[in-house]
């Protein structure tokens, strides 16, 4: 028997443990808690998310009814874009806005307290803006 403290197998194990730890360490270091948010549409009424749908480019057209603060609204979703098709608010700003398809954009109906978002992903790069002045 040699007088070495560790056998070859021990050394390998130790190296494996250290490598694994380094990987775990790096993973924790660089990961953020945010999940990729692209390709979704969030519908909020009264401050709560009431619908969360995928917004893939190949999805078939769909109309859904969402209850806002004062009245229901018909929201239409198709092929990567979304709009308010019908609403009962007096100003109709939400309907007039038409389709949105860019991550980071939103439709807001103030009288009915309804918000439709396309959340901006963390890596949308140059196209995404933090806000739009209008």
């Amino acid at each position: 028997m040699s007088k070495r403290l560790m056998t070859k197998a021990d050394t390998k194990l130790l190296i494996a443990v250290i490598l694994l730890s380094l990987v775990a360490y790096a993973a924790i270091h660089y990961s953020s808690l945010s999940f990729p948010a692209e390709g979704r549409v969030l519908i909020k009424a009264g401050g709560e998310v009431v619908q969360e749908l995928l917004l893939s480019a190949d999805r078939p057209a769909q109309r859904i009814s969402v209850q806002g603060k004062t009245a229901p609204a018909i929201i239409e979703i198709e092929q990567g874009r979304v709009r308010v098709a019908e609403a009962f608010c007096p100003d109709q700003i939400c309907v007039k806005q038409g389709w949105i398809d860019t991550p980071g954009s939103s439709i807001v109906c103030v009288p009915n307290e309804l918000v439709i978002y396309l959340p901006a992903g963390t890596d949308d790069g140059a196209t995404a803006v933090d806000a739009i002045t209008r």
Binding site: I18, S21, R134
Partner: protein
């Protein structure tokens, strides 16, 4: 046996130190986002704050919203839209028009002072006593009729900021003639956003963005060496941007003819009314103002919108604290030279970008 003990001790030591490292990483203070949103002042207000202390972010955001809610309640023009059930200072001033002065909140007094300053600075183009004319048009109401000419003239005769008497010592406001009324639509939102930003800054928050329906105020930078990216809405295509601003510790506010309007007999009438004619001013499609103070940006974007483009550019060349992007009715984009560093224009083909012309001049 001795060898095995050493070996076990060694492995134990390695594992403990690795575990320690991982725990240290997990506990490392990490940049968090804390956001909130509320419907206030006829728009959706969202505040997003960033920092390592979540409690601080949450408390400061709540306090900022509380202050905005307070200002919204104080400046609301219609009692039925008021959440708190109290009568707003503006409703009281309007009700006491021609009767007696009303003592108002300090912030309301400051807003009225600012509005009068801009009335003077813009030679009367901007006038917060436009209330009677706004009521006649009834924006946001479904009726689709033009105001009658006689009614319009009568309402216009009640529009005059010189008859808004402010007493600084008493902190009171008085509309001299019965029937006069204030409309703080171009003042209150920007002022409230600025107060909210100050609350966040005083709480020690170094990165935040406030968006009150397109009235933007940013704190700090988005990331080291990178400003907050704020798009400028294309006034004719809700899907498009005419440019992107890169902002830090400043505000961008836009007044446009495309946000609040009503269509009567196929023609659009927007809500930015001339205090002289009582009709919408049609020389520009939108004006975006960039300044440090969101309250000023809000006032100025409306005031500039109500001017002729040449007059607006002349004003801007004399007042260097504000930068602006004007989109005229002829689809010309005019920018002040000071924006060169922070603005990237990306207009559609129908627009004429006149930035170069301005740089020379």
């Amino acid at each position: 046996m001795e060898k095995n003990r050493v070996r076990i001790a060694f492995c134990f030591l390695v594992l403990v130190s690795l575990l320690g490292g991982v725990l240290f990483q997990l506990n490392r203070p990490r940049e968090q986002e804390y956001s909130g949103e509320e419907f206030l002042m006829d728009t959706l207000v969202s505040i997003s704050t960033y920092g390592t202390d979540t409690t601080l972010l949450r408390q400061a955001t709540a306090e900022a919203f509380r202050e905005m809610r307070r200002l919204a309640d104080l400046t609301d023009r219609f009692t039925d839209g008021n959440n708190s059930g109290m009568t707003s200072d503006i409703v009281r001033i309007n009700a006491m028009a021609g009767i007696e002065p009303v003592i108002v909140d300090r912030d309301v007094f400051r807003m009225l002072q600012l509005a009068k300053e801009y009335y003077a600075l813009t030679d009367g183009a901007f006038d917060i006593t436009i209330g009677p004319v706004m009521d006649l048009w009834g924006f946001g109401k479904p009726e689709q009729t033009l105001p009658a000419a006689d009614d319009l003239w009568e309402a216009l005769s009640l529009v005059d900021s010189n008859d808004l008497i402010l007493n600084e010592k008493e902190q009171s406001a008085f509309l001299k003639r019965k029937g006069m009324s204030l409309d703080l639509g171009a003042v209150a939102k920007g002022y409230a956003v600025e107060k909210a930003a100050q609350i966040l800054e005083e709480a020690g928050i170094e990165r935040a963005i406030i968006n009150a329906g397109g009235n933007i105020r940013v704190i700090g930078q988005k990331a080291p060496q990178q400003g907050w990216q704020v798009g400028i809405q294309d006034p004719r295509d809700p899907q498009a941007l005419v440019g992107i601003l890169s902002l830090q510790n400043e505000s961008a506010v836009t007044s446009g003819d495309y946000q609040r309007y009503k269509e009567i007999a196929g023609k659009r009438y927007h809500h930015l009314l001339s205090a002289r004619t009582g009709y919408p001013v049609e020389s520009m499609m939108s004006v975006t103002v960039v300044t440090k103070d969101s309250g000023e940006a809000d006032l100025l974007s409306t005031a500039l919108f109500l001017m002729e483009p040449e007059q607006a550019l002349a004003y801007l060349s004399q007042h260097k604290n504000a930068e602006a992007i004007l989109i005229t009715a002829e689809k010309q984009i005019l920018c002040t030279p000071g924006l060169k560093e922070k603005l990237k224009l990306t207009p559609g083909e129908e627009y004429v970008d006149e930035q170069k012309v301005n740089d020379k001049g």
